[in-house]
């Protein structure tokens, strides 16, 4: 009865130390919109990368059957030939080229030695009409907003004669209006017989457009639902929740003191789009010995909030007040933040955290080099002291390495995370921001990181933990703030917090915003 266009059978994909996909099977019917949802790190994007040939055939186990034929894609080019086109979350457009040039990039019209520009721009205009974008195809991409760029991506996919369109978080950076336009467009294409797979965090959007939903968690499929069976926001949320939280988190008796850190009316604007508020009037408090969680979906502004607090290392036009132990402080550079005993452990340990080609020692001491200066000398580094300190933190963190001189790029993700944590503990912070501290590391290493966090707060320090993994927040935090679209959508204590409540808060705040926007327009 069902006409299956795509079937993925028993896909298993492992990275060093992590099993990203574990025996995942997925089937998509022709002409439907199939949604895949799940938390960050659930394996959604990995699954789509397997499908589109980003991870070539042979680097995973299992088989892919598309249009009745088994597939062995070696690259994106192979999958595109068969009509599977993926649009990644980070748009792959060249800003300095025009819409037309971008649309036919790698698919140039005319011959190899003579590009037919009339054909290029003529066709581009037709596809733009199809996606409802009223722009001249000579316009440069950099002059378009993100929403319109997303439409160009779709037009580009159409130009490739797409049969199965995969969209990875297409609305993550779009506002409500643009999102709705995009979803309606997909519904329109569906009528014409196109199949789409959409990966999204936004449950209301899935409920709006999807015909069937696959819910993933920890690299495995948890549940599949179809429209015939009936689903709504609530059933999706329920399906996403429901994991055994016991024994995954080390026990701790909270010993919470007075407020040590307070933020009032914190507003931050986007560094390039100066009129976009990334953090909107946020006020929070942090107590001594507390682990405070910040929950929210991708793009809610959590990382941006933490980084802007850490010496204005993100954003422009920052306003608001910060108080440490009741006294107002102004921290305008990471250096000042470190001096005020703040530390920020980045979510992007390779890009923003570690100096990969350097050994553990120099990475450990980088955040406060003056602590290892020889007595009585102003700037001379005491190598022996440095090595001693590095060894101390290797031991304290339980980092597995061949020696303190090991280059950090050769360490596993979990051990890199420990080096990074050690680096920031070396700065002896009172207030520690941990941004996705367990991202991309295996379960065992996660547990060790949790234990370290407990021992940190037992010493009277405070932690603000940002995480996209709700169970982790629920298991570790004394209190959780829920962020949505740059605002605090609510606050929950450890006892009252559940995944349903967090998701509901996010949903409600998004709905509230839609209404507000509607009235404004």
């Amino acid at each position: 009865m069902d006409d299956i266009i795509l079937e993925m059978k028993h896909i298993t994909k492992t990275f060093p130390g992590v099993r990203a996909l574990d025996d995942v099977s997925l089937s998509v019917r022709r002409g439907e919109i199939h949604a895949i949802c799940g938390e960050n790190g659930a394996g959604k994007s990995t699954l789509m990368k397997v499908l589109s040939g980003v991870y070539p055939f042979g680097s995973y186990e299992g088989e892919i059957i598309y249009d009745g034929k088994p597939c062995a894609f070696q690259s994106i080019r192979d999958s595109e030939k068969t009509g599977i086109v993926i649009i990644h979350q980070e748009l792959a457009l060249v800003p300095m080229l025009s819409i037309g040039e971008n649309m036919f990039l790698g698919n140039e019209q005319g011959t190899k030695f003579n590009i037919d520009w009339n054909e290029t721009y003529g066709k581009a205009d037709q596809y733009l009409k199809l996606v409802g974008l009223h722009e001249n195809s000579h316009t440069l991409i950099k002059d378009l907003g993100v929403g319109k760029q997303q439409l160009v991506e779709i037009a580009k996919a159409l130009a490739k004669d797409v049969k199965l369109l995969i969209l990875d978080e297409p609305t993550a950076s779009l506002n409500e209006e643009d999102s709705k336009h995009l979803l309606d467009l997909l519904l329109g294409f569906k009528k014409k017989g196109m199949t789409s797979i959409i990966i999204s965090h936004k449950i209301n959007e899935i409920a709006y457009c999807a015909d069937s939903v696959t819910i993933m968690r920890d690299g495995a499929v948890i549940r599949e639902m179809t429209k015939e069976e009936g689903f709504d926001e609530k059933t999706i949320v329920n399906a996403m929740v429901g994991r055994d939280l016991a024994h995954r988190f080390p026990q701790r008796v909270p010993n919470i003191g007075p407020v040590v850190f307070e933020v009032k009316d914190w507003t931050v604007y986007h560094p390039t789009y100066h009129d976009k508020k990334v953090c909107n009037d946020i006020s929070i408090t942090l107590r001594k010995g507390e682990i405070l969680g910040i929950s929210g979906l991708m793009g809610a502004g959590r990382t941006e909030f933490a980084m802007s607090l850490f010496g204005h290392s993100y954003g422009t036009n920052i306003t608001g007040h910060t108080y440490i132990n009741g006294k107002e402080v102004v921290m305008k550079s990471p250096k000042e933040a470190i001096e005020h005993k703040l530390s920020y452990v980045t979510e992007d340990r390779k890009g923003n955290g570690l100096i990969l080609p350097e050994p553990i020692t120099t990475n450990t001491t980088l955040s406060s080099l003056y602590k290892i200066v020889k007595k009585g000398r102003k700037i001379t580094i005491d190598r022996d002291m440095e090595v001693n300190e590095a060894k101390k933190y290797i031991k304290e963190m339980g980092t597995k390495c061949s020696s303190h001189e090991q280059i950090v790029s050769n360490l596993s993700g979990g051990n890199q995370q420990k080096v990074l944590l050690g680096k920031w503990l070396f700065a002896e912070p009172d207030i520690l921001f941990l941004d996705e501290p367990t991202r991309g590391i295996d379960v065992g290493a996660k547990y060790e990181i949790y234990c370290l966090m407990n021992s940190i707060v037992e010493k009277g320090k405070s932690i603000i933990m940002i995480s996209s993994e709700m169970p982790e927040l629920l298991g570790m935090c004394d209190r959780i703030y829920v962020m949505s679209e740059g605002r605090i959508a609510g606050e929950l204590t450890h006892e009252e917090a559940t995944q349903e409540k967090i998701l509901t808060m996010i949903l409600n705040s998004e709905k509230g915003r839609v209404n507000l926007d509607g009235r404004k327009d």
């Binding site: 550079s333 980045t346 890009g351 923003n352 350097e358 406060s368 190598r383």
Partner: protein
């Protein structure tokens, strides 16, 4: 000498040192076969030092720029010319006190560097563009000052500062004695510091190399120093410019290897974002790199004026390329974050020996250039391939 830098690029520096030695031996054989004397003739060794002093000075400054992220400074040669022109005008034409003139020249160099550094570090205009502009601007200004003419000769007391020998005496025996005793003192100091560091390590319980290896190393280094001193002693004694070089090498070697601000250069080149989040003001680091480069260029200018006894409109032409080449031959990464002062100096010496050896052999100047180009490429290819191999292991 433990620690990150030696460990990381130790193999590389040793390899380039080995290349230097083999090139020297090769030239020695060729030169002897042609019956044109010897590369190791005392006069030639002295000549090698005087000829290449400027490259060594510039390579040290260029290394700091390259460390910040593979950034280069193209204006070096033009700054050498411009500062030389100012020095010539002040000292020769105006007859100013030479020490005052030297201070003015150095300050002027710092000013030129600060000008470029500001645009590079705080406005973040790509260094390539700023220093390309500087290259044209400063060369033009120099020619305006010189009016297209050469200024010479410089007074005797100025020349003595950079081109004389220690001791300033014609007595051969005295020259040898002074030369050997200076080397002797340095050797003794070296041995003492090695022993002290070893004792300190043992006391604190750190790993030390075997005593046999240490003795071999020390004996080799001392023997080399004494042999070198003997050669210098046979020809007028220690060139004074060698003393200046030693000071510069020591200061910058220590700075990059042992100090907090020195560490910032490696951090910035390794991962600038991580460096910023670690509280490092990378703008300041970049500003310092370019200001310092111009400062060292000014020193090189003073040395060159003395060596050629003139300030000419064409002085310093393509010096930037010699400096950049030395750093890359010496193992600095083209993306920044790794490289040592020692490596840059060995690189400079290798270039110098190539020049000198080929000149003695009477090889055409155009061919010399071609050979230098191939050597530079070969050095970088070697670097890239050895890194790849290490990754695959």
């Amino acid at each position: 000498m433990e620690g990150k830098i030696e460990k990381k690029s130790g193999i590389r520096t040793n390899a380039i040192l080995l290349a230097l030695v083999s090139v020297m031996v090769l030239f020695e054989i060729l030169i002897r076969a042609e019956g044109k004397g010897s590369l190791f003739a005392p006069a030639n060794i002295s000549n090698l030092i005087n000829q290449n002093a400027y490259v060594v000075i510039l390579a040290v400054g260029m290394l700091l720029c390259i460390l910040t992220g593979g950034n280069i400074d193209l204006s070096v040669g033009s700054i050498v010319c411009l500062v030389g022109a100012v020095a010539g005008t002040l000292i020769v034409n105006m007859g100013m006190n030479i020490y005052l003139a030297i201070i003015i020249c150095l300050l002027f160099g710092i000013l030129l560097g600060a000008w470029q550094g500001y645009w590079i570090a705080y406005v973040r205009i790509p260094p390539f563009i700023v220093t390309l502009a500087g290259m044209l601007l400063f060369r033009g200004l120099a020619n305006v000052i010189l009016n297209g003419l050469t200024i010479s000769p410089f007074p005797e007391n100025y020349l003595r500062l950079f081109t004389s020998y220690i001791p300033e005496s014609d007595n051969d025996a005295l020259q040898m004695t002074v030369s050997l005793s200076v080397a002797g003192v340095i050797c003794i100091l070296y041995v003492i510091s090695e022993i002290a560091s070893r004792k300190d390590k043992i006391r604190k319980g750190y790993a030390t190399e075997s005593s046999g290896a240490m003795i071999t190393k020390t004996v080799l280094i001392c023997a080399f120093a004494m042999a070198f001193a003997t050669l210098l002693g046979l020809h007028k004694g220690l060139p004074i410019v060698l003393v200046w070089l030693a000071v510069i090498i020591f200061v910058y070697g220590y700075f990059t290897n042992r100090t907090v601000p020195g560490r910032y250069f490696y951090a910035m080149g390794g991962n600038e974002k991580a460096a910023v989040l670690s509280g490092i003001d990378t703008n300041k680091v970049l500003f310092f790199a370019y200001t310092n480069m111009a400062f060292l260029s000014a020193i090189a200018a003073l040395v060159c004026c003395a060596r050629f006894n003139s300030a000419t409109p064409s002085a310093g032409t393509s010096y930037e390329m010699d400096a950049i080449g030395s750093c890359f031959i010496g193992g600095a990464s083209a993306y920044g974050g790794s490289g040592t002062v020692g490596g840059a100096i060995v690189g400079a010496l290798l270039m110098g020996v190539l020049n000198n050896g080929m000149s003695i052999l009477g090889i055409d100047a155009n061919w010399q250039k071609a050979v230098k180009g191939l050597v530079l490429l070969a050095a970088v290819i070697f670097d890239v391939l050895s890194k790849k191999r290490r990754k695959n292991d």
